[in-house]
Symmetry: C2
Subunit: 186 residues, 2 copies
């Protein structure tokens, strides 16, 4: 039999936990939402300690994502990937900013090698990051994988602005909470 | 409204075109299947000119993938990603080789930056490649994106063997056919 489909889902709690009319006007509040999603994903035991969200230029929430690798048996289902796919599904286009509007991804931790590459195709203009890769390595057993040496410059040259260390302490706290809960590697 | 799911599908023709009992004993025949999938995807106009397949150690076909970016409005839906996700869904595990068995991905063209990163998490032991990145650049308008300078070495160090230039002429022919058909960028 040929397996010809996959169905990727966010946890049911997102409907209660996230107000679809959320507006996050500044960078820090966007990342704070991504971190809150990561924390809830740990608390509810619905995936790894990572969250992400896509916003429009005015700060309106477009989509959310959390890590779903283990629950869905899918190594692709990182938080950033889920946020990109649900945003594109909502907008019905495969490159979010193809109409000239600007979109922002906020993520609780630096994208791994997979999500880094995906960020280049998704059609975002800004990438807002909470925890650094070294925080992830220090506090968890996750591997972020190999990136281009000048990974920030490669994004900048493609029109994607990178802002790091937003709410970094709060982002680190979620990773530590995950570690202390004895969480598996997702 | 929070969009909480995505449904990713391969084209219906895969059920007719692919024998689920396929065994490809050698490297070249594995890549040849990936190239045939790419060619069919162009012919049927169901996505971009890229195909991929996952095989078990004995050469038994486990899953297939084709590029579905434009039909599904999903920048994640590259051929390799579709093949990884359907293989993991079939095996019900997020890292294919976690039980010690070995798995191979064959792809019609060198993985882009997204699929490169995904290959590191998917649980494969061998990566078989048809066309080179420079073939893709020469024959189409696709961008492969930024990779680590020593991208092959990074894979090798993580236990993933890379074999290139398998059926390269046939792989190039599909890219040229796509170009000549006036295909859009996927």
């Amino acid at each position: 039999m040929i397996y010809a489909q996959v169905h990727l889902t966010l946890p049911p709690w997102v409907h209660q936990a996230v107000d679809p009319d959320t507006v996050c006007p500044d960078d820090a509040s966007k990342v704070a939402l991504a971190i809150r999603l990561a924390a809830l994903n740990v608390e509810r035991r619905t995936g790894g300690p990572f969250g992400a969200a896509v916003f429009t230029e005015s700060g309106r929430l477009l989509s959310v994502g959390v890590n779903r690798v283990m629950p869905l048996n899918c190594s692709v289902a990182h938080a950033e990937m889920m946020a990109f796919m649900t945003a594109q599904h909502r907008m019905q286009r495969f490159r979010l900013n193809e109409d000239g509007h600007r979109f922002t991804l906020a993520t609780s931790a630096q994208p791994c090698c997979q999500c880094y590459g995906a960020s280049i195709w998704a059609g975002i203009d800004r990438l807002l990051i909470g925890a650094r890769a070294e925080d992830v390595h220090e506090l968890t057993e996750f591997d972020e994988g190999p990136l281009p040496a000048d990974w920030v410059g490669e994004l900048t040259r493609r029109g994607i602005e990178v802002v790091r260390d937003l709410e970094r302490d709060a982002a680190r706290a979620v990773l530590a909470a995950y570690r202390d809960s004895g969480g598996a590697r997702y």
